[in-house]
């Protein structure tokens, strides 16, 4: 049964140093608030997993939370590089970051296999690329019926999945709609799961394309605008300006550290973080 908790409590209870953690989201519904709370609580040694690590992963990596990243595309969508991610890989700053990289199709297959309780999944992929040479989680497999050679990928089992959704109802069921990515699979691939939501409601929206029953979710925290600068369809819009601004905030180590200190470490929670951003953007206008 999903327990309704504060985000700080939920992160403290569910995310431990050294865990394998995915904060999933495909442009839409990215759990930024939860990422900030992990930084605030100074977790270390995490193996971070995500198909599309973007700004919140840049923040986590730049703050030294992670020892390893498992991913398929790391960038600031529509803007450019993730400077903190690049700095970690290119210059081992603030600490070395081991990487294990895949294609999107491979990562999706790995999540789906784990969600299905299988130790591996099968796809048509990786053949001819240099990707499989750098990981032991991709090997050839032969179809027992046709003899055709395909590719097997290892199931991607998680300790913790963290996602943002639109709604939770009184019984603890969670609803998402719009682009829902691989979030259901991530939750079902994880031992524990944490969902931040925009709103608690009496009745889930009829458009809800994905409903996660309460009993597969460990904790729910109500965090309005909790995906900012990402968006929650029906609630908030994507803050494209923030993604663009992140490019210069993150380019320099000191600027980055200063920004993180003032906007994350020195703020008590995500609501305070958002108020600070609002004040700054009014001042700039």
């Amino acid at each position: 049964m999903a327990e309704l908790r504060s985000l700080a409590d939920a992160v403290a209870g569910l995310v431990h140093d050294g865990d394998t953690v995915a904060l999933e989201g495909f442009t839409h519904l990215i759990p930024h608030a939860a990422g900030h709370e992990i930084i605030r609580q100074r977790r270390t040694g995490l193996t971070l997993v995500r198909m599309t690590p973007d700004v919140v992963y840049d923040q986590l990596i730049g703050m030294g939370v992670a020892d390893k990243l498992v991913f398929s595309w790391g960038g600031n969508p529509g803007v450019g590089s993730l400077h903190r991610f690049r700095d970690a890989v290119e210059h081992r700053w603030p600490r070395p970051l081991a990487i294990e990289e895949h294609s999107h199709a491979g990562m999706a297959t790995r999540y789906a296999a784990a969600a299905s309780g299988l130790p591996f999944g099968v796809l048509r992929g990786y053949v001819g690329t240099d990707l499989s040479a750098h990981t032991d989680t991709v090997v050839p497999i032969t179809c027992p019926f046709t003899g055709e050679q395909l590719t097997a990928v290892k199931a991607l089992d998680l300790d913790v999945a963290v996602i943002h959704a639109q709604q939770v109802d009184r019984a603890g069921n969670v609803a998402m709609w719009g682009i829902t990515g691989v979030q259901k699979e991530a939750v079902l691939a994880a031992k524990r799961s944490l969902v931040t939501v925009e709103e608690r409601v009496d009745r889930l929206d009829a458009r809800a394309a994905v409903v996660l029953p309460s009993w597969v979710v460990s904790a729910v925290a109500v965090v309005p605008r909790g995906s900012h600068p990402s968006y929650a369809m029906g609630y908030t819009d994507r803050d494209n300006a923030f993604y663009q601004a992140w490019d210069s905030i993150s380019r320099d180590r000191d600027t980055f550290l200063d920004w993180m200190d003032r906007h994350v470490l020195q703020t008590g929670d995500f609501a305070e973080h958002l108020r600070l951003l609002d004040v700054e953007s009014r001042a700039a206008a």
Partner: protein, 257 residues
């Protein structure tokens, strides 16, 4: 069509590239749209000669009809205008892998003479000079689409003799290597750059310059290529953007900014 040798005023090389790329998309085709340049070109095609082009994004949006070209491949506009929105595992398994995509439309950081693509690293993998974003959907878009169109700016930095990393397979070392590996699509059939158009020679699968854009000296394309680029005997000049293409392109660019 005879083409003027100079591009209209105010037209950038990127504009010409985008328009040329958009023309490669046939009306009614299903197109798996990669992040970046391809998305702008694909949306231009849908708003000009290919109104029934089906845009499929790796975010799971099928038949998206954005009025504003998306900044990311997961913008809300894509979901709101799509015929169907499916999960990410489903878009790759049921739609791309199953062979339902006519055209995979990709950008690239580096490309080689056989249309192989690198979007992973510049320099050695374990100590890269530049860490690029990585594979994303490209490897399986490249292997499982019926054909692949690549769009990227042409220079010795991008058109290289040897890739630092093969992220997505074009024609490997050519000579029907794809078929030998069991890849089902035909691979890259055309590469569109800011200088011209390259196509693989049927036998060797090596990219050959088959057209230059108006006003481009083929020698510039050769100089902007990290291998000895072959130029087709019957080198064409691409027709310049039409007024209509340009008008829609400007609308799309304004909408995005």
């Amino acid at each position: 069509m005879s083409a003027p040798v100079v591009a209209p005023a105010g037209l950038s090389a990127d504009d010409v590239m985008t328009v040329a790329a958009s023309r490669q998309l046939a009306d009614g085709a299903t197109c798996f749209v990669g992040i970046g340049l391809p998305s702008l070109a694909a949306n231009l095609a849908r708003r000009t000669h290919a109104p029934n082009l089906v845009l499929v994004y790796e975010s799971g949006t099928i038949g998206a009809k954005p009025t504003v070209p998306p900044l990311s491949i997961g913008d809300g506009e894509l979901a709101e205008t799509a015929d169907a929105v499916v999960s990410v595992p489903e878009i790759f398994a049921y739609w791309l892998q199953a062979g339902r995509i006519d055209v995979g439309f990709l950008g690239a950081a580096q490309i080689d003479r056989f249309g192989n693509i690198n979007t992973t690293v510049i320099g050695p993998y374990d100590a890269p000079t530049v860490r690029l974003p990585g594979a994303g959907g490209a490897p399986e878009i490249a292997s499982n689409s019926r054909e692949v169109i690549v769009v990227l700016r042409q220079s010795t930095r991008t058109f290289v003799d040897k890739l630092d990393f093969i992220t997505s397979v074009g024609h490997l070392d050519g000579h029907a290597a794809r078929r030998r590996l069991g890849l089902r699509g035909r691979g890259p059939t055309v590469v569109i750059t800011d200088l011209g158009v390259l196509r693989p020679e049927p036998e060797t699968n090596e990219l050959v310059l088959t057209a230059v854009h108006p006003g481009v000296d083929p020698a510039i394309a050769v100089a902007g290529t990290g291998w000895p680029l072959r130029v087709a005997d019957d080198l064409q000049v691409s027709s310049p953007p039409t007024d209509d293409e340009l008008r829609v392109l400007r609308q799309l660019q304004r909408g995005r900014s």
